[in-house]
């Protein structure tokens, strides 16, 4: 453990911008969500109505979890923001840990530092301290912000610590995945995949209804935060579970560190073929990107299956509820509810898919900075051809990923209503209309790559902004111009698909892509 403090300081220095941005983003969103909910649901009646609809709507249940306590503002905040806060803090923790453990090791810097006087566990310890500490700090600040908004202190602490607990669990998860593979990308993918699974586990549990497998929620770290019931029962004891998981994961990782060599992983590497079949830039890009394409296709197919399977229940639940039934009749009946559900879900899927597209584009930049583009571009491969070989994974790959989501939705929903033939093409269409908006986000990433290569990281800010604006914008009561910033705002809502916005979004994407291509053709290769 010797040298841990040094490494902590080094890590804090290297992340002196990233960490404050995460902290600010999570704490500020807590504050603004509270303020917005306070305004919109100021009266007891409005909250009661929300409570009745929220808990009857499987889409809401699957996405946000149940609204345990709608009688207080705190209960609303915990419901509207709790699951997302858990998702975001988990992403923060897993990125931070990988960045300071496996990515360092991969770059060979660990060797450099380990040769100085640094204990065997120092790197892991430093990463855990930084990620875990940041999680706790975010939790505490959230609690303080909520107390500052005059919410009950015990509920505020329950909420803040719940969020922090997800951060701690994913600190442990990615401390562990970082030991498995030699590749930080694989480590992030494993931890990220696990996050997806536990989000969906609780989605399935929450949307299951009385007779369904509600216990699934108990197998998810995000589910645990719901079980705390902040601002309701405030069951602090539930937080002992994530704490125990954190300790076990970190302990296991520390044990693995002593059992493996620096630079290697637990998963063994085998010998491969002595001769290669790859002979084109696209062949290489396919080899580099196919894992991610397949992974995302499977993941979004599963998301589609899960949301598809609850859609029908949305309609039924309201029909079972006489008072709600009336309200629902006014807005167009159960079918309209199901349509609205699909509109929300496909939008969410579109937003998630933009992460895939951006990541596919940014592969160009990581190839460049790791000096792997240089030998390629010293062969007859043109700049254009090289960029295209990866960009195609964003453009066409994005369509494939979305099609799988639509396939999942359509197949399962179709089976439930007994009409796959109608449901499948509808759902495929509903998912694919998101594509032009996702292309625009990918286009921004390519423009950054072509013209401002040092700032390609801003692409993630664009993705986050689209997510926040589209998912939380309406709740935050953002002005229309602010909502318009996200390309996903302009995607026509299912089932009223019109071509206009799709065409101009595509046109914007084409212009952005062309600018990115032209910029790269003209610039120096840089690292």
């Amino acid at each position: 453990m010797i040298g841990t403090l040094h490494l902590v300081r080094l890590a804090l220095r290297r992340s002196r911008i990233l960490l404050p941005v995460w902290i600010f983003f999570l704490v500020f969103t807590t504050l603004s969500t509270t303020t917005a909910l306070e305004e919109v649901y100021g009266t007891q009646q409005s909250r009661a109505l929300l409570g009745a609809t929220a808990n009857a709507n499987s889409a809401f249940l699957a996405m946000l979890g149940p609204l345990h306590d709608w009688s207080t503002l705190g209960g609303l905040v915990a419901w509207r923001w709790g699951v997302f806060a858990g998702l975001f803090i988990a992403i923060m923790a897993l990125l931070v840990v990988t960045r300071h453990t496996r990515a360092e090791e991969e770059a060979g810097r660990t060797e450099l530092v380990s040769a100085a006087v640094v204990g065997r566990h120092a790197h892991l310890a430093a990463a855990v301290i930084v990620a875990g500490g940041t999680s706790l700090l975010i939790g505490v600040l959230q609690a303080l912000v909520l107390i500052g908004k005059d919410l009950p202190a015990d509920g505020a602490w329950a909420f803040g610590l719940s969020t922090a607990s997800v951060g701690l669990v994913f600190t442990g998860v990615s401390a562990f995945t970082a030991q498995l593979s030699e590749n930080s990308r694989v480590s992030n993918a494993l931890a990220g995949g696990f996050l997806g699974v536990i989000y969906l586990l609780r989605a399935a549990g929450d949307a299951a209804g009385e007779s369904g497998p509600q216990w699934l929620t108990w197998f998810s770290p995000i589910g645990w935060t719901e079980q705390v019931r902040s601002f309701g029962d405030n069951r602090f004891w539930v937080l002992l579970i994530p704490l125990a998981v954190f300790v076990v994961l970190v302990g296991t990782s520390a044990y693995v560190v002593t059992r493996r060599d620096v630079g290697l992983g637990l998963l063994p590497t085998r010998l491969g073929p002595a001769h290669g079949k790859i002979g084109t830039p696209f062949g290489l890009a396919w080899r580099l990107q196919k894992g991610s394409l397949i992974g995302w296709s499977v993941a979004l197919f599963v998301v589609g299956v899960i949301y598809g399977s609850v859609a029908q229940a949305v309609g039924q639940m309201v029909e079972d509820n006489p008072t709600l039934g009336q309200i629902v009749q006014q807005i167009g009946g159960a079918d309209a509810m199901v349509d609205a559900f699909f509109a929300t879900v496909t939008q969410l899927i579109g937003l998630i898919s933009s992460i895939y597209l951006v990541q596919a584009v940014l592969r160009l930049r990581s190839e460049e900075t790791s000096f792997r583009a240089e030998p390629l571009l010293a062969t007859p491969v043109s700049r254009w051809g090289w960029v295209a070989s990866h960009a195609v994974f964003a453009l066409v790959g994005g369509a494939i990923v979305l099609a799988f989501a639509g396939l999942g939705l359509g197949l399962v929903h179709g089976l439930q209503i007994g009409d796959v033939g109608t449901a499948l093409p509808k759902m495929l269409g509903a998912a694919l209309v998101q594509l032009p908006a996702a292309w625009v986000v990918a286009g921004v990433a390519l423009v950054l790559f072509g013209l401002f290569p040092q700032f390609t990281g801003v692409s993630w800010a664009v993705v986050s902004a689209s997510l926040v604006i589209t998912l939380l914008g309406p709740a935050l009561q953002l002005d229309q111009w602010a909502l318009d910033v996200s390309p996903f705002t302009h995607v026509p809502k299912y089932p009223d698909i019109v071509a206009g916005p799709l065409l101009w979004l595509s046109a914007v994407a084409v212009v952005l892509l062309a600018a990115g291509f032209a910029g790269f053709r003209r610039r120096d290769l840089t690292t």
Binding site: T269, L271, G272, G276, R287, F371, L377, A378
Partner: protein, 295 residues
């Protein structure tokens, strides 16, 4: 003789740093040309401009008769490049990388590929991540040397090779010379340059300070002489071209500019020479002199 590479007045700046400052470089077709200079002198920058990876601010560069920035793809069919920092794709084996780069260049010589793998004792079945630095460099070298190209551009290709492999590398480059290929070899290893290069250019602060055959360059250096004389030395101190003279009784030690050797020796002989040792100039001294001047 024609020029495979001819560069004149090349300037490249990175923000405030002037990496290349009016650089002129000429590499004849069929020669092995050494490219030397201290760290940060601008060797890699020059090479990257020649490969069209960087764009020069001003000046002209011609490569195999073409413009490296405009005719990139056509020129790259005729050359192979080994970068200083070889980074391989973690999940591709060495063999896959060799074949990929070879195919992109329009095919490689299978027999030579096999022969080179054997000579460099490289296992092509290992994954990129598991190669050592030297072995990564070997992958790039095998890929470059087994392609049928006219020009090889090598940026410190042997910085990670052990002495045995260094010898193999030198054999390979000599073979290339016999095949009539042109080689631009940037290197810090003087023995390698001495063994391989027909001509060298020395770059310092982005500017070529010396260029020519090794014999030419040697001419610019000093020979060290130590002698025991019959009587006290006379007149040496005041002679042009004599440096660092140390006289103890009848013994003298000094350095003399190579082109002043004749008159100085005549002067010595006039005092009667009992013993004489002379040390020819070493390349090390030559380069150290150029390198040190940067400070």
């Amino acid at each position: 003789m024609t020029s495979a590479i001819s560069v004149s007045g090349l300037v490249k700046t990175f923000g405030p740093t002037r990496a290349l400052d009016d650089l002129n470089l000429d590499v004849q077709t069929g020669e092995v040309h050494g490219f030397l200079g201290p760290n940060g002198a601008g060797k890699s920058t020059t090479i990257r401009i020649l490969l069209g990876l960087l764009r020069a601010d001003s000046g002209t560069a011609r490569l195999l008769g073409g413009d490296p920035w405009k005719d990139t793809a056509a020129l790259h069919r005729r050359l192979a490049y080994v970068p200083g920092d070889v980074n391989l794709w973690p999940n591709l084996t060495g063999g896959e990388v060799i074949d990929l780069l070879g195919r992109l260049r329009g095919g490689l010589n299978k027999a030579r590929r096999a022969e080179l793998l054997e000579r460099f004792e490289l296992d092509p079945r290992k994954k990129g991540r598991t190669y050592s630095k030297g072995n990564r460099q070997k992958v790039a070298l095998v890929a470059a040397l087994s392609s049928d190209v006219e020009l090889l551009i090598l940026d410190e290709p042997t910085s990670g090779l052990d002495p045995l492999m260094e010898a193999v590398f030198q054999d390979c480059i000599n073979d290339e010379r016999e095949r009539g290929r042109t080689v631009l070899l940037s290197s810090h290893i003087l023995a390698e340059v001495e063994a391989l290069c027909d001509r060298v250019s020395i770059i310092r602060n982005g500017h070529i300070v010396e260029t020519g055959t090794l014999a030419d360059l040697r001419h610019l250096t000093r020979t060290s002489i130590s002698a025991e004389l019959a009587g006290p030395p006379n007149g040496l101190t005041s002679m042009a071209g004599v440096h660092d003279l140390v006289a103890e009784g009848n013994r003298v030690k000094f350095e003399v500019d190579s082109d002043k050797l004749d008159p100085v020796l005549k002067q010595l002989v006039s005092s009667g020479v009992r013993t004489l040792t002379s040390q020819p100039p070493t390349l090390e001294e030559l380069f150290l002199r150029h390198y040190e001047d940067t400070k």
